[in-house]
């Protein structure tokens, strides 16, 4: 039995006449019993029609007098049992008024729909989505798509994307039965109408779960399976809104159409009923075909992997280096690390980030530089510690140019800790320095005594094309010099993160002050640079 009440009857009758499908009728009756939607729609339709037959009598009685409910029910029962084959005479006897004429009209409209029942005409509101697009065939299609990509998951969430014009049709239908729905009770309004999406999910979740062998289909999950419907035939339904609410439809670069669901909803909130009815039929017109079901989209939320990397090569950029569309170097740190990780997690892509970056000709030694990667749409989201260790070994065996340690799965939130550390933490470097004037061991001894030297660094010319011009204060906490020969020495530095070391050594046209040229009173240049440590205590170390 459908959980319908007396006051639903005029709604049911009006909507069926208007060309609504059985499930949309339930929606507008604000039926929130999920089982009612899950039963076959033909069954629901049958029950609703039985209801209409009753409605003819009870409605007329309703309009005959606003009596007590008991009396109404009693006479309604009597009407059904007494003369089920001959309602017109009964009606005529009871109420020979306008209401009766109305009933006849609606009856006639319902009769028009009736002959098409077997092939069930496409619903004017849901455009078929709660009809044949909502059943086992659709569930099988969804399950096949999920299986085809062999995702590993425990639960999934079903998401539905509907054509924007469905909102317009829903609104039109709402205006059609607004009065009747509100009469159901003071509390009922447009928000109480069950959404197409909601009903679709109630019906489909169980069916999809069954097709996938009992996997839980839930409301929140890391794995999302998207079903998209389009209906090109009625896309123009929305167009009148652009002239009535032009401010809701501003073109933007990324959107293919201005008639997004959000924009249409906003416009419908603004438009007055009278204006809407002037531009759009109420109830909506009958479509000739159902929605088209687009390809199923599967998406698993990102997995984040972090670790530390060493770079042992002076001709390896951190990220692919492309100038004028042409690749400058064969590989990159991120690609060398990403390739094995992508295949282990069977991800579609990645975003690489790290605690700072080194130039192409700079090595990163010591414990390495913290990095994190977002893996996009991983088909496998879990690797245990042993598997991660194995993955790390695969990366390390794949190239001599880099090495990875502390490889682990982290949360998205934990990733921000890496970026937090960036400004405040320190880094240590070793630079091979050339001096124009010959030096002796004792000429550079004073360098070791310099502590917390504050530099004023103008944005280096080398990066000024893509960064704002500013003078940044950076601190060199300590330095040490190791004499090599009269023109060379190794300079060790411990600096605040963000210090440009190369510019400190050669001065960058005098734009970093003080610089090593000034300290040594001769031109100096930097021939090699190594990062010895990036002092960020994230990600946590993993014992070898």
């Amino acid at each position: 039995m459908l959980p319908l009440k007396e006051k639903d009857k005029p709604i049911v009758q009006k909507l069926l006449s208007a060309g609504c499908c059985a499930r949309c009728v339930l929606r507008f009756c604000c039926v929130s019993v999920q089982a009612a939607y899950r039963q076959p729609q033909q069954e629901t339709l049958k029950e609703l029609k039985a209801f209409i037959a009753d409605t003819e009598n009870s409605k007329c009685q309703d309009s005959a007098g606003p009596d007590s409910r008991d009396e109404n029910n009693k006479s309604h029962e009597a009407a059904v049992s007494d003369t089920p084959e001959d309602p017109p005479s009964k009606r005529a006897k009871l109420e020979p008024s306008v209401a009766a004429a109305q009933c006849e009209e609606e009856d006639a409209a319902a009769a028009v729909v009736r002959p098409k029942d077997d092939e069930s005409p496409v619903c004017v509101v849901c455009l078929g989505i709660l009809q044949e697009l909502c059943g086992t065939i659709q569930a099988v299609k969804i399950a096949e798509a999920v299986k085809a990509e062999s995702y590993e998951f425990d639960t999934l969430v079903l998401s539905v994307s509907l054509p924007a014009q469905l909102c317009v049709r829903e609104h039109s239908c709402w205006l059609h039965v607004k009065k009747e729905v509100r009469e159901k009770g003071l509390v009922f309004d447009k928000d109480d109408v069950i959404q197409v999406k909601e009903a679709f999910k109630w019906i489909m979740q169980g069916l999809v779960a069954k097709e996938l062998g009992g996997v839980a289909v839930v409301t929140r999950s890391a794995f999302e399976v998207g079903v998209e419907f389009t209906h090109p035939q009625t896309d123009a339904d929305c167009h009148f809104l652009a002239t009535t609410c032009p401010d809701c439809f501003k073109p933007t670069k990324n959107k293919q159409s201005v008639f997004t669901r959000m924009a249409v909803v906003k416009a419908l909130e603004k438009i007055s009923d009278a204006k809407f009815l002037k531009h759009y039929p109420c109830p909506p017109t009958q479509p000739t075909s159902s929605c088209i079901s687009q390809d199923i989209q599967c998406l698993h939320v990102s997995v984040f992997v972090a670790g530390r990397y060493n770079k042992f090569c002076r001709s390896l950029p951190q990220t692919p280096w492309v100038i004028d569309g042409e690749r400058r170097m064969e590989s990159s740190v991120e690609e060398l690390i990403a390739a094995p990780i992508l295949s282990a997690f069977r991800a579609d892509g990645f975003n690489f980030s790290s605690s700072g970056r080194e130039d192409v000709d700079v090595r990163t030694l010591g414990n390495g530089r913290p990095f994190a990667m977002e893996l996009l749409n991983p088909h496998k989201a879990r690797l245990n510690k042993v598997e991660m260790k194995k993955l790390q070994e695969i990366i390390n065996k794949s190239s001599d140019k880099i090495r990875v340690r502390d490889l682990q799965i982290v949360t998205r939130e934990a990733m921000s800790r890496m970026k937090e550390g960036e400004e405040e933490k320190t880094k240590t470097y070793t630079a091979l320095v050339w001096t124009q004037k010959p030096i002796q061991r004792e000429d550079i001894g004073f360098i070791d005594d310099i502590k917390d030297l504050t530099l004023d660094q103008k944005t280096p010319l080398r990066v000024l094309h893509r960064r704002a011009l500013a003078v940044r204060q950076r601190v060199i906490h300590s330095m040490n010099a190791r004499f090599l020969d009269p023109h060379h020495f190794y300079l060790g530095l411990k600096t605040q993160a963000g210090t440009y070391i190369k510019e400190f050594v050669h001065g960058d046209f005098g734009r970093t002050k003080p610089n090593l040229c000034q300290l040594l009173k001769t031109d100096t240049d930097i021939l090699e640079l190594d990062v010895e440590s990036v002092d960020v205590d994230w990600p946590p170390a993993i014992p070898e």
């Binding site: 050339w434 124009q436 010959p438 103008k458 010319l461 080398r462 990066v463 000024l464 094309h465 893509r466 960064r467 704002a468 011009l469 020969d485 009269p486 023109h487 050669h506 001065g507 046209f509 005098g510 240049d525």
Partner: protein
């Protein structure tokens, strides 16, 4: 002996300018003899305007009396301000836009020009305090200004400038003429 050898090899080692910049020249700017400018273009398209070593200001015995970035009553290059990555607000310069006027102690005044189209990012204020930087290190610390050409013009702006070889041949012809006339 070792030391001398070392010095020679090091002298030939590429400097910062050699490694990252391409030198372009404008000879006899605005038809004024020997007023040569040198533009250092970084591989990232940024340009540094400098005096070529052949510029009269840098010739023996001269000293600088003053450097003035106020190129007209209404316009001072010192007021140039750029903000953000896109360098909004920077003065836009064309080839013949004056950057500053330099007066030598013999009262001769020279105007230094942009030589290329682009947005002025900064002028070198260090040379106001220490004009000697200009004399001693004209191609590094004694630079005049930094200009960022438009991205789409980063190659074409140097088309009407001389390459280093072309400039050197201009200079050598110049000294031929001088030696002939003298």
């Amino acid at each position: 002996m070792d030391c001398v050898e070392q010095k020679d090899t090091e002298a030939k080692a590429p400097s910062v300018v050699d490694r990252y910049y391409t030198r372009w020249y404008r000879a006899d700017m605005k038809g004024k003899a020997c007023e040569d400018h040198c533009i250092l273009q970084h591989s990232n398209r940024l340009c540094v305007v400098t005096l070529a070593e052949t510029h009269p200001i840098l010739q023996n015995g001269r000293t600088i009396k003053s450097i003035n970035y106020q190129i007209s009553t209404g316009c001072s290059r010192l007021n140039n301000k750029v903000s953000g990555k896109s360098k909004r607000g920077g003065q836009f310069l064309t080839d013949f836009a004056p950057l500053c006027r330099i007066t030598c102690s013999d009262e001769t005044e020279y105007t230094i020009y942009s030589c290329i189209r682009g947005r002025l990012l900064e002028v070198n204020e260090n040379i106001l305090e220490t004009p000697n930087l200009l004399m001693e290190k004209p191609s590094t610390e004694g630079y005049i200004a930094v200009i960022l050409p438009k991205f789409e013009e980063s190659k074409s702006i140097t088309e009407n400038l001389l390459t280093r070889e072309e400039f050197e041949s201009v200079v050598s012809k110049r000294s031929d003429v001088q030696s002939q006339t003298s």
